[in-house]
């Protein structure tokens, strides 16, 4: 099994175990704020972060509200994320950002204000100014915001080194994509003269699609599955496909060991931060 795949699994495992701990915490009323869990979707950021690491690229990253896995995959401070979810001033967003507006100066991760899709034009403007590699995440619902489409067009006009990632879980809260629209984001991006692909959250597919990223604007619409509720602790569908569990099966005992070690590490970190109260 490739080292790449195992490295992606390590990043995904950190996110999955973190989210599982938070899921249990929500159930036990540890948190006093709305929390948007990214479990089920973690393979997107885990893979992209691994590819960036392998290529020695440190992009500017514009995150969306369901962003724990992006934050963790790009190696931002887990302790600061825990503190943020606990509403502490030592949190990554000074206790102001909660779950939805996390950021990291050290890892060039820019927070999201809660206005769906606003991160897209902001990322485009930032990229225009800096001309640095930039990644912006959005969901399949926020991609429908009119200002997202306007920003895609301008990024194409200016041929910016920006990568648009659509985390397509097919849901806006619980409303399916087919109810909301009859078009696909990759086709919209192509109409804007941009390279664009529709793929699933399988790590080799994502890695291969990233060839030539930042040579100009590019959009990847990546199919994925949200494991938990839109917000809070619950499961909409017990039978939903789980990329993380599939990869663990595929990778065998090594992955199982990584999972267990990471689970222990995450639990210890949580305990340590909780004891600080």
């Amino acid at each position: 099994m490739s080292e790449f795949r195992l490295n992606v699994f390590k990043r995904a495992s950190l996110s999955r175990n973190f989210e599982q701990f938070v899921f249990n915490g929500i159930k036990n009323k540890v948190f006093k704020l709305p929390i948007y869990l990214s479990a089920g979707q973690e393979y997107i950021s885990a893979t992209i972060a691994q590819v960036m690491n392998d290529k020695d690229i440190e992009p500017n990253i514009f995150i969306q509200h369901r962003g724990h896995s992006t934050y963790l995959s790009f190696e931002a401070s887990i302790e600061k994320l825990i503190d943020e979810l606990l509403g502490r001033k030592t949190g990554c967003a000074n206790g102001m950002g909660g779950s939805a507006s996390i950021h990291s100066v050290e890892k060039n991760i820019f927070g999201h204000d809660g206005l769906m899709g606003s991160q897209v034009p902001i990322a485009v403007g930032h990229c225009y100014k800096t001309q640095e590699p930039t990644i912006v995440y959005m969901g399949d619902a926020s991609a429908e915001e009119d200002y997202v489409l306007g920003a895609l067009g301008w990024a194409s006009t200016k041929n910016l080194p920006i990568l648009f990632i659509v985390e397509d879980n097919n849901l806006s809260i619980l409303t399916e994509k087919k109810v909301r629209r009859n078009w696909e984001m990759q086709n919209v991006a192509k109409a804007f003269n941009m390279r664009a692909y529709s793929i699933q959250d399988e790590p080799h597919s994502i890695r291969d699609s990233l060839a030539g990223a930042f040579d100009g604007p590019m959009l990847l619409n990546i199919g994925t599955h949200r494991k938990f509720w839109h917000s809070g602790a619950g499961i909409d569908n017990e039978d939903i496909f789980d990329r993380y569990m599939e990869e663990m099966k595929l990778l065998g005992p090594k992955a199982l060991l990584i999972h267990e070690e990471t689970k222990n590490k995450v639990e210890k970190l949580w305990q340590k931060q909780l004891e600080k109260q």
Binding site: N94, M96, H103, F110, G111, I122, G125, D146, G150, W154
Partner: protein, 307 residues
């Protein structure tokens, strides 16, 4: 000859771009160069044409501001702020509070009126007034505009500059008029400042004592002691004038004045109706005659009761 407001804005913008920053907006480099307020620069010089997507365009400028560019963002009609405001108000103005990442940008928001219909006409600074993280200035003179720009360059907040096209030819500074024991004190904003001066001059010539205290800094609003004293000493209280609807900046600062002075302060602003294109259905800022009429009406109404 003193510089006009137009020449001042143009020179400040030229120097801003020559220093490496950028100016963004729609249709900047077309004939007219935004009423002659822009140097004839193009994208290579820092004059950046955005697409006609207003909300996205404003968001793009916010991104440039977040990257430290200190952009000037030109919005050619203040009414277009209804499209431009969402990302400016929710990201640029909040970024410093939430993430300690300032997002300073200077918004040139340009008012005009007269036959331009229900959206484009008049000032709309009240849209932003309720939000934290913004400073609002309405300069009508060259010195005031320079002061606004210099404050922006030494600050890390969003600056909303409420301009008015009819001020562009102005090369005079506007001084406050303060009498001992005046009849009433006017607090005019934006283009109403010129009409207020005319109304005050005519009424003063007719034997009344009318104070005029110009309102340039809209937010944060500071009610200086000298102004408070002038208001307290005014027989019939105060009158705030604005080129926006009363239900916003004007009512807000009138409220502050009343709390601090215990004097009555009224407002005279746009009428609470939609503007049409034809002169008979337009909605214009209060002119000299309307201001005089309002002052005399206040004096008549409260003459026996004093304030």
């Amino acid at each position: 000859m003193a510089k006009t407001v137009r020449e001042t804005i143009k020179e400040l913008t030229r120097n801003h771009l020559l220093a490496g920053s950028k100016c963004y907006g729609q249709c900047l480099t077309a004939v007219g160069w935004v009423g002659g307020t822009l140097p004839e620069f193009y994208e290579k010089d820092g004059m950046v044409e955005l697409s006609m997507a207003d909300v996205a365009g404003a968001g793009i400028v916010v991104g440039a501001a977040l990257a430290g560019e200190r952009p000037i963002y030109v919005v050619r009609y203040q009414g277009f702020q209804w499209f431009n405001a969402p990302i400016i108000a929710n990201y640029a103005m909040k970024s410093k509070d939430i993430w300690k990442r300032p997002c300073p940008m200077l918004i040139r928001s340009i008012a005009m009126e007269g036959g331009i219909g229900p959206v484009a006409g008049s000032s709309h600074h009240s849209i932003y007034h309720r939000m934290p993280g913004v400073k609002i200035i309405s300069p009508m003179t060259a010195k005031e505009y320079t002061m606004a720009y210099e404050n922006f360059m030494s600050d890390d907040d969003v600056y909303y500059i409420s301009e008015h096209r009819k001020s562009y030819d102005n090369n005079l500074e506007l001084e406050n008029i303060i009498h001992d024991n005046a009849d009433i004190t006017l607090f005019p904003i934006s283009i109403t400042r010129f009409a207020a001066m005319q109304a005050a001059t005519e009424l003063n010539e007719a034997g009344y004592k009318i104070n005029v205290i110009h309102q340039v800094w809209i937010k944060p609003f500071v009610f200086y002691e000298q102004w408070n004293t002038a208001l307290k000493n005014s027989k019939f209280g105060g009158l705030v004038l604005d080129d926006d609807y009363a239900e916003g900046v004007a009512s807000s600062i009138a409220h502050t004045m009343m709390l601090e002075s215990n004097s009555r302060v009224e407002t005279l602003c746009l009428q609470n109706k939609t503007a049409g294109f034809y002169p008979s259905v337009d909605n214009l800022p209060p002119n000299k005659e309307q201001i005089k009429k309002k002052i005399l009406s206040i004096m008549k109404q409260y003459g026996s009761r004093r304030k």
